[in-house]
């Protein structure tokens, strides 16, 4: 069901944990549909120098968090904002269709953390326009016909 890369990131997730003096903290998800993702960034000179995450969710949510943190580490804030869940899923060598939304959670967690960073530092990012970190998105809409 899952690719080898997914299973590797699930089994040995990178960057699990918290950053106590994080510059940015974001949490997304909704326990109602079973998935919560929390991300911590350390940002220096507009560069994400450290990332940690904690995830309550399925295997692909854990793997997506792990992969996404790896992908944004060392990037500028702007570059991190551009990361889409498709890229995360691609790096994971694909996710089952029903599991694509788990990678979206990772994209959203990153945005949420940067939203926090912008708020704290009075910064403006075009990409975050309209972004609502508390939106209760239903990640679990079924493709019922």
């Amino acid at each position: 069901m899952y690719s080898e890369i997914v299973m590797d990131h699930f089994t040995n997730p990178r960057n699990v944990g918290e950053i106590s003096d994080a510059d940015a903290v974001g949490q997304v998800g909704n326990p109602k549909c079973g998935d919560i993702m929390k991300m911590y960034f350390k940002i220096q000179d507009n560069i994400i120098v450290d990332v940690k995450f904690k995830t309550f969710g399925c295997g692909s949510a854990i793997a997506s968090s792990s992969m996404a943190t790896e992908m944004v580490k060392g990037k500028t804030v702007e570059e991190a904002l551009e990361l889409s869940n498709y890229e995360v899923a691609k790096e994971l060598d694909g996710l089952p269709p029903a599991k694509m939304h788990c990678s979206l959670l990772a994209e959203q967690a990153i945005k949420s953390a940067i939203f926090d960073y912008a708020k704290k530092n009075n910064l403006y990012y075009k990409e975050l326009e309209g972004f609502d970190p508390d939106a209760e998105e239903d990640h679990h809409s079924h493709d019922e016909e």
Binding site: K38, K54, F56
Partner: protein
């Protein structure tokens, strides 16, 4: 080590059952409806299987109708009586913890103009008989309440429910797909009108089940066509499957006590081990009134799928919610009905035991499970050390 602990999802076919089936796949191929000798062999085989199953239920053979599985039996019982009795009334009573084969069928009927009452259950998953009584109406035509639950193993007070149904002259159907093979079901003592059962839950093949219909019960067909099953269920019979079902039923009820004792012992050992070794654990369902093979626990702060994946990687097969619902990502409606929060419902693990399990296997599970739970908790934003 490989440990299969998902017997409530499905069981392996017993070798005796497989051996009973093969001639009907390989050697006898007539259509049982045919007049010639090829057909007759098969007709006899179906009759034998019908007898075997009737005996386990203390029913008459002509009260057993073979179907393509438990889901079809549930659909048939509910739609077939709803349709037959629609001029009498359109109110149905069921529970909020039924299998989807019952629940979705009832929801479908609601769209057709029927009214359905979904009885709640208490924290342990048991309905209140008083509440059932209070919902009975003039136009109630059917009570459909499962014998034992597939997720949490809880056994309902079926005898009392059946008595109430009888007293009020309302038809009573029970989904006994999980109970059958684990509990004595005696249609002579229990005034139930219809019972759904399925072969693959008791070491028989998948894709064959049966509906017990008490003589005289009015019910329309679900599958119209040829004259098979005394004109009540059309379609060329799945003979090998039916033969396997009969054999499996006979075996299960021939050694019921040993089977149940073995399971109960392992179940208690497993449950107690888990509760001892893993903090923040909740037993789902009733401690005593439960199937002998069912352990269902929720581990706070973690989610089910990642637990199943981790277990699978060390060779342990289990489930979270019912197998049939795992295609969906919603938390189990059964666990939510017990009053569990969404997180707790998500963190549930169902371990269901079978004939082949040994104490060594349980020890292996008790060794593997705690670190898995701990690792996932360490990753969880909900868990504070």
């Amino acid at each position: 080590m490989k440990v299969y602990l998902d017997y409530s999802a499905t069981t392996p076919v017993k070798p005796e059952v497989f051996n009973a089936m093969t001639p009907y796949l390989r050697d006898y191929y007539g259509n049982p409806s045919s007049l010639h000798s090829y057909g007759r062999e098969n007709k006899k085989a179906i009759d034998t299987a019908r007898d075997q199953i009737a005996q386990t239920l203390k029913a008459k053979p002509e009260e057993i109708f073979f179907t393509g599985g438990g889901s079809e039996a549930d659909n048939w019982a509910i739609k077939g009586t709803a349709e037959a009795l629609k001029n009498k009334g359109r109110h149905i009573i069921t529970t909020s913890i039924e299998h989807h084969a019952v629940l979705h069928t009832c929801q479908h009927l609601e769209k057709q103009g029927y009214e359905v009452t979904y009885l709640p259950v208490n924290e342990e998953g048991i309905i209140s008989v008083e509440e059932l009584k209070s919902h009975l109406r003039e136009d109630t035509i059917l009570i459909t309440i499962m014998y034992a639950n597939n997720e949490i193993g809880t056994i309902q007070p079926i005898q009392e429910i059946a008595a109430i149904a009888k007293e009020h002259k309302v038809l009573f159907h029970t989904d006994a797909v999980q109970a059958y093979g684990h509990l004595e079901i005696n249609t002579q003592d229990l005034p139930v009108d219809m019972i759904s059962i399925s072969a693959h839950k008791l070491y028989g093949p998948k894709g064959v089940g049966a509906l017990y219909i008490r003589k005289g019960t009015r019910i329309h067909n679900l599958i119209h066509g040829g004259a098979q099953e005394r004109k009540k269920r059309a379609g060329t019979e799945n003979i090998a499957g039916i033969v396997g079902f009969g054999k499996a039923a006979e075996l299960a009820y021939g050694q019921l006590t040993e089977h149940v004792n073995h399971l109960t012992e392992l179940r208690d050992y497993l449950l107690e081990g888990i509760q001892q070794k893993i903090p923040y654990t909740r037993l789902n369902g009733h401690r005593q009134k439960r199937l002998p093979n069912n352990v269902n626990v929720s581990f706070e702060f973690i989610e089910g799928e990642s637990m199943l994946l981790s277990l699978d990687m060390v060779g342990i097969a289990a489930s979270s919610g019912s197998a049939c619902t795992s295609g969906s990502l919603d938390p189990s409606h059964v666990l939510l009905s017990l009053g569990l929060s969404h997180e707790m419902a998500h963190g549930s693990l169902r371990l269901t035991l079978g004939d082949q399990n040994t104490k060594e296997e349980i020890d292996y599970v008790l060794e593997q499970l705690p670190p898995i739970v701990q690792r996932l908790r360490d990753m969880s934003p909900l868990y504070e050390n």
